[in-house]
């Protein structure tokens, strides 16, 4: 089974999983973040503490949750309370990482999951913030997981749902957002990005194996900072693939 070539989604999950820091609290949203968290817990970060917004903390992730409130999100958990408990823990500074998605992202890591087009007469109505805005506001570090396409990596999102660095240095603090918080990485289907510490604009960090820097630039709708040295992400190991395919998502819901 591990002979089958890996997909870009599988690679993206592996790269995201490696970003989990062991022994930290992680706010996990629906979908890819759940797979990444499960993979991290089985590999490099066995002591992460998953937090799901509807109340589950410290679950043992034996089976892939399909929803942020279902029983798998507090399976053998340490506490199973309500949304106020987790959101307020984040607001108090107890949640280290937040893993997020969105339809659009801009150079400052602001995310849109509300509308494409004008808010009151949208071209496309998206699901809405959900917990995204709260996670982006309150977690110490957020990591976005995105399909890498020009229409998604845009100079200006149609609607800022989840705050990245807003308009740049000092903007989060000026708005009243917690000091020292903000986005630190984007994992896409093509590459891993971080943020330039001076300008707080998105910067290419490492491309996925087989992806060129040009390909990343072509698929990004704004000027991505390209440093002198761009790394290459490790491909999924056989073990990572086995875990993903056999243990984590055997039904192939996401991969």
């Amino acid at each position: 089974m591990s002979e089958k070539p890996y997909t870009r989604t599988e690679l993206m999950i592996c790269v995201a999983a490696r970003l989990f820091e062991d022994g930290t609290t992680c706010f996990i949203g629906t979908g890819i973040p759940m797979l990444a968290a499960m993979l991290a817990a089985r590999t490099t970060a066995p002591h992460i503490v998953p937090v799901f917004e509807f109340g589950g903390t410290g679950a043992i992730l034996e089976e892939l949750p399909r929803a942020v409130g279902e029983a798998r999100t507090w399976h053998k958990g340490l506490s199973a309370l309500g949304i106020c408990d987790t959101m307020e823990a984040a607001q108090r500074g107890f949640i280290d990482y937040g893993f997020l998605g969105g339809a659009q992202i801009d150079p400052y890591g602001n995310l849109n999951s509300v509308v494409i087009g004008d808010h009151d007469h949208p071209k496309a109505r998206l699901p809405g913030s959900g917990g995204g805005n709260d996670i982006g506001s309150s977690c110490w570090r957020t990591i976005a997981i995105m399909q890498h396409q020009k229409r998604r990596f845009v100079p200006k999102v149609d609607f800022i749902t989840t705050p990245g660095y807003l308009t740049g240095p000092g903007a989060r603090e000026a708005a009243g957002l917690p000091r020292g918080s903000g986005p630190i990485a984007v994992v896409s289907t093509l590459a891993l990005m971080d943020y330039d510490p001076e300008t707080l604009r998105m910067r290419l960090k490492a491309v996925h194996p087989g992806v060129t820097v040009e390909e990343v630039i072509e698929n990004t709708g704004f000027d991505l900072i390209i440093p002198d040295e761009v790394g290459v992400n490790e491909p999924p190991s056989a073990e990572e693939l086995r875990l993903l395919r056999e243990e984590i998502d055997p039904e192939g819901l996401y991969i």
């Binding site: 589950g56 279902e70 999100t73 509300v114 949208p122 699901p127 805005n133 708005a175 009243g176």
Partner: protein, 329 residues
């Protein structure tokens, strides 16, 4: 005179204005403190307490402890022009598909693992839903928490600096104690709330197993509360574990006995999701016609929750039971 600066006022409509003294008066005069038998059917409860144009909400995500039997009855009775606070999956999707929703305090309406909601897109992009006022999941819950506390607003650091504030009805002020900006969320008092629980007595004392989502907050933030319960238990059972009663009877207007009331969603420790059933909606709701066919079959085509369960069939329900979460060390 000392003042607090208002830095920004959201331009979104406060689609459910509130008056705390009026809410108090309601709670004084319309909510009996007496232990009165409130058991009734879905049909009776929805007829009695849900009305065209009311502001209504359901508790928890669409597939988890969701009051589906009540949500389907709302569709069956065709309540119109609903104003809804939306954090939902299946249940709000049904209402949107049935064309019942006029205004939304929206946080998230989608199908989670199965992606965006086509019903939401159709309803909003066509203009059938007139207004979407934006809130985060935290913010909408804190708005209910403010009402539950009997106070006019609650501060938060969520939504600051984003378009969320602009398209909400929140205000940003300088905190008078420390001088930093903070958002004030207006209280949200619902006309009607629907909550599904594990067990209730006939008076409405309710207990929940597993995560409680925002049940405690919503139950205290509404004028009418319809509870559906997997099991109706004697009050003696409640009195044995009063520390489990997160919704006391005096908050409750109707108690509906609804075994498998969350189907095709799950109920912790009782039954798991019916993946097949959820996928059926996901597939059919991609088109307006498909959604209509689903409603025809599962809502309009059955008279009540029992007929719905008969349609699903014992065997499929039993499979859900087998997939349930278990309490084990």
């Amino acid at each position: 005179m000392e003042v607090v600066e208002i830095l920004q006022s959201g331009q979104g409509e406060l689609i459910q204005p509130f008056d705390m003294d009026e809410f108090r008066e309601w709670n004084r005069t319309k909510k009996s403190r007496k232990l009165v038998d409130k058991v009734m059917s879905e049909q009776e409860a929805i007829e009695k307490f849900v009305y065209d144009g009311c502001y209504i909400g359901t508790e928890l995500y669409g597939t988890v402890r969701c009051p589906m039997s009540l949500a389907r009855e709302v569709v069956r009775q065709g309540k119109r022009n609903l104003r809804v606070c939306g954090q939902g999956v299946l249940e709000l999707d049904l209402w949107l598909a049935a064309g019942l929703v006029k205004k939304l305090d929206i946080t998230y309406i989608g199908l989670e693992v199965y992606g965006t909601s086509a019903s939401l897109r159709r309803a909003v992009e066509s203009g059938q839903v007139e207004t979407c006022v934006e809130w985060s999941n935290g913010a909408i819950t804190w708005r209910m928490k403010a009402a539950a506390m009997g106070i006019p607003f609650i501060p938060t650091r969520s939504m600051l600096g984003t378009d969320m504030i602009t398209y909400s009805a929140a205000k940003v002020v300088k905190d008078p104690f420390t001088g930093t900006p903070v958002a004030l969320l207006p209280a949200l008092v619902l006309d009607v709330a629907l909550i599904h629980v594990h067990r209730a007595d006939k008076y409405g004392n309710c207990q929940i197993e597993g995560i409680s989502g925002f049940a405690a907050e919503m139950a205290r933030a509404c004028k009418r509360l319809i509870v559906s319960a997997e099991e109706i238990v004697p009050t003696e059972e409640i009195r044995k574990y009063p520390d489990r009663t997160i919704i006391p009877y005096y908050l409750v207007d109707a108690v509906v006995h609804a075994p498998f009331g969350s189907h095709p969603g799950e109920m912790a420790y009782l039954y798991g999701r019916d993946e097949e059933g959820i996928k059926e909606w996901v597939e059919m709701s991609k088109t307006a016609e498909g959604a209509q066919a689903y409603l025809d079959k599962y809502v309009y085509g059955v008279k009540n929750h029992q007929e719905y369960l008969d349609l699903i069939g014992e065997e499929r329900l039993q499979r859900c039971v087998e997939r349930r979460e278990r309490r084990e060390a």
